[in-house]
Amino acid sequence: MSKKKKNMPPHWALKFLRLFIKREYIEEIEVDLEETYHINRQESSTVRANWRYVIEVFKLLRPNLIKSLAWNYSISPAGMYQSHFKTAVRGLKKNFGFSAINIFGLSLSIAVGILMILLISERYSFDDFHTQKDRIYKVTTNRVQGTKGEEVQLSTASYYIGNQLKEQVPGIDEVVFMKADRLSADFITERKAISINGFYASASFFDVFSFDLLQGNPQTALSEPNSVVLTRSSARKLFGDADPIGQVLNVEENGDFKSVVIAGVVADPPMNSHMRFDVLVSLSTVVKPFSETANDINSPDNTNDVSVYLLQNEQAKTEDIIGAMANLMGDYNKTIEHPIRHSLQPMETFVTSNTYANRMGPMFSERKIKIMLGLMLIILISACFNYTNLSMARALKRSKEVGIRKVMGASRSQVFTQFIMEALVLAFLALVVGLALFYIIRPQFLDLPNPAAMGHDMFSLKINYIHIVYFIGFTFIVGLLAGFQPAFLLSKYKALNAFQDASKFTLFSKGVNLRQVLTGFQFAISIGLIVFAVLVFKQYKFSLDYDLGYSTESIVNIPIEGDYINLLEAEIAKLPEVLETSKSSWVLGVGGDGMSVGMVMSKDNPKPTPFLVNQVDGSYLRMHELSFLAGSGFTRSLDEGQTQNHVIINEKGLQTLGVDSAADAIGKTILHNGNSLQIQGVVEDFISIALTKEIFESFAFVQANEATPYKSLNVKISSGNLQSSLAKLEVAYCKHDAIHPFEAHFYDDQIAKVYEREKTTFTIVSFLAFLAICISTLGLLGMAVYTLESRKKEISIRKVLGARLQNLLLLLSHEFLIIVLVSSAIAIPVVLYIVDRMVLNDFIHRIEIKVSDSLSGLVIMLSIGLLTIGWQIRAVFVKNPTDALKNQ
């Protein structure tokens, strides 16, 4: 080969020549060039001859010698495609088993693809209904905050910067202020009362955001104090079909205002809005105009209270506004240690950005999308590999067909198109099946708990016309991806080779071949996903079963809003099912509205240190069975107005106060909230918030001397008929509170809910693992069927000669065994690393990764694979060997 090459002109130039010269001229011109080349080589050097040759080739680029750019064939290509389509359909029918395996495998990945397309397109359509979306920005804040001295990024800003922007910075059309705290209150008419929540927004709200104001004046609806805009659904709940405009509503459980006037009705915010509300209250109701308010509200330092949205002028530049904000803050920043910096966040990242604290609305981070896309691609590629592998395995059978086509004058590109067409037909059949599968998984997916959505539905996953275009495009790509490799290889066959003895002819070089690598990839993905799912599930179970340090058994927690808790408690205590009751301001291990942090000082440690505080009544600690290191629990509940004088702290609290032993601490005095409290008991450490978080390790239980701090009524019920007990509790509850729905939960369920994120991760990963296993098993099945079909005679002869099933299994599955072992050797360490970094690191108390967990994927894959192969071998083995041997 190399010797021949020496005397030949550069090959690439020849290839290039063939590319552009008209077909009918090519032979003659090629030979002319070659002859000239040899003459040149003899006359001067090879290098010069090569050089001349290349120049000659380029000089042949003449209009009358090159191929015309128009279609070369005089007949329309439609007929060819029609014929390809027909052969493709016939081929699929003929090899029904293989087609079914391929279609099913591809449809699994296409269903996931459909899900992803819908998810991504819905995510990117967030806030699209705002006609000025590209001009809406939010002012963000970077500053050092908190005790740890870390810089935080806030999605809130100050009234100060907002007002300065409005008055002094050019290029801003409107500024909207919205209080960062959501409003949650009971709105009451003469006949009805509902609990709704929403936002406080300044007057320019409707100039910036395109919420559809059905009734009322967009300019003035939110300008007067005490005026509100209701959504249509909440207006309907309160007034039915009557006109709500101008009606006066009473508001309860809210210190700031007592009655409001309805100034407008707005359409319900759509699902793809980053802010959701039932009501908008004018900001002037709670915040006085700039000039009249107290200094601390107007201070540039007050950066946690308000979200500042602005509508940028079309001509203005974002950088200029950011620069202007830096200038505005310049003087103030000189007076403080850590400067406060403001920046702008464009509307399209409101949902996607996960870096801001104080955010409002749902979140779907870029990272999450990337991970999901990555997983989808892996599943997709895995399914495409099935097609590739099975097609290439059957390539021998097809080689004669290719040979005949070539002899009949088909060009390589035509054969290529034919095979691509087959893949496309298959992919589109898979699309139909995939759509059906999608409708099966859709409700399950929508039901998955999504803590980042903040209690709202983020996605509807409805299919529009435009999505169908995406699906078709997507399927097209899948078809190309799956069909490219076989089409490329099969169309490469030379007509002559195709008719040679098939046994002499190998598709792959010896050693590791492409098919093995692709299969290995599939196995690695399946094994990896299994291990991932197993580990996440174990951590989830571990977190649920973790000894919290207190008892949660048969305890029902009822959230209470109002001051009737003592009355309700007294009534409930009379029920025969109720064993014990207690009151607390929040629920340990779950959290709640009443959760608070208090500064505690003692004589030994005069520096105030933060303690997590829960206000509980006399029976709380006893009922929850917290174990004491020293001292005792509260003996009785405090009466109204009685002074608090005792506190119970935990072990960590003891250490922060600088006391060595629990016994010593009893009777010592600490300062909390201006009260001096005596330490009455010390409890063992327990899980205060969740296994994922450990913000404040020091903990203090104090007692409340009035009803309102208690936000949760804890009821221990006997484990009889739980449903009827709950129903009785509800009856009692409804007597006292007609507005808020009864939302009692079993303590254990609440704890489980804390780990919803892990549960969702587990559900998604195990679903993907299931898909990956399905796909790779299908591929394996296809390969097994094919191998056995082509080795039927061999197996029959072996059987006749006395081989047993086990021998055959070993013979035929040793390749599979090697691939599985190699791929798990690659996949398992990678997955262990990822799980360790991305999942387990979020937990303080985490599981130990055991060898058995790591090997779970390998074991599952091995057993499924061996069963598949064994099943196929058995199918051949049980047949009479003469049947296979006699037909020649």
Binding site: E27, E28, V31, D32, E34, E35, T36, R62, N64, L65
Partner: protein, 112 residues
């Protein structure tokens, strides 16, 4: 002259084809012209001229026999059509007539 449109280079190539007779194929024509014109020519220019003339009907061509020298590939032998002979004669006559029409003294000026 109008209909024929035989360019100068084409005319030379055509004449060469006639001169070379049955040896008239690409490389040979190129060599012949190169020696006569005393300049290097590209394969492209020769081929382009030959194809053009074939289309205009000055040349016909057929594959010759395959030889070992050309690696088993055939060469294409060109031959001039009678139409080509006619046109060449026409051109020649026109040229001669023109030469004859040049007044005698000018010849001496041209150095002849």
């Amino acid at each position: 002259m109008k209909k024929t449109k035989l360019g100068e280079f084409e005319e030379l190539a055509l004449l060469t084809v006639i001169v070379l007779q049955e040896k008239a194929y690409g490389v040979e024509i190129k060599k012949e012209l190169e020696t006569r014109l005393n300049q290097t020519l590209s394969v492209g220019s020769i081929q382009s001229a030959l194809k053009r003339m074939e289309q205009k009907g000055f040349l016909t061509s057929e594959f010759g026999e395959a030889t070992n020298k050309r690696g088993g590939k055939r060469k294409r032998i060109y031959s001039a059509t009678s139409y080509a002979h006619k046109v060449l004669n026409e051109i020649k006559e026109i040229r001669e007539a023109l030469w004859k029409s040049i007044p005698q003294p000018k010849f001496s000026l041209l150095g002849i």
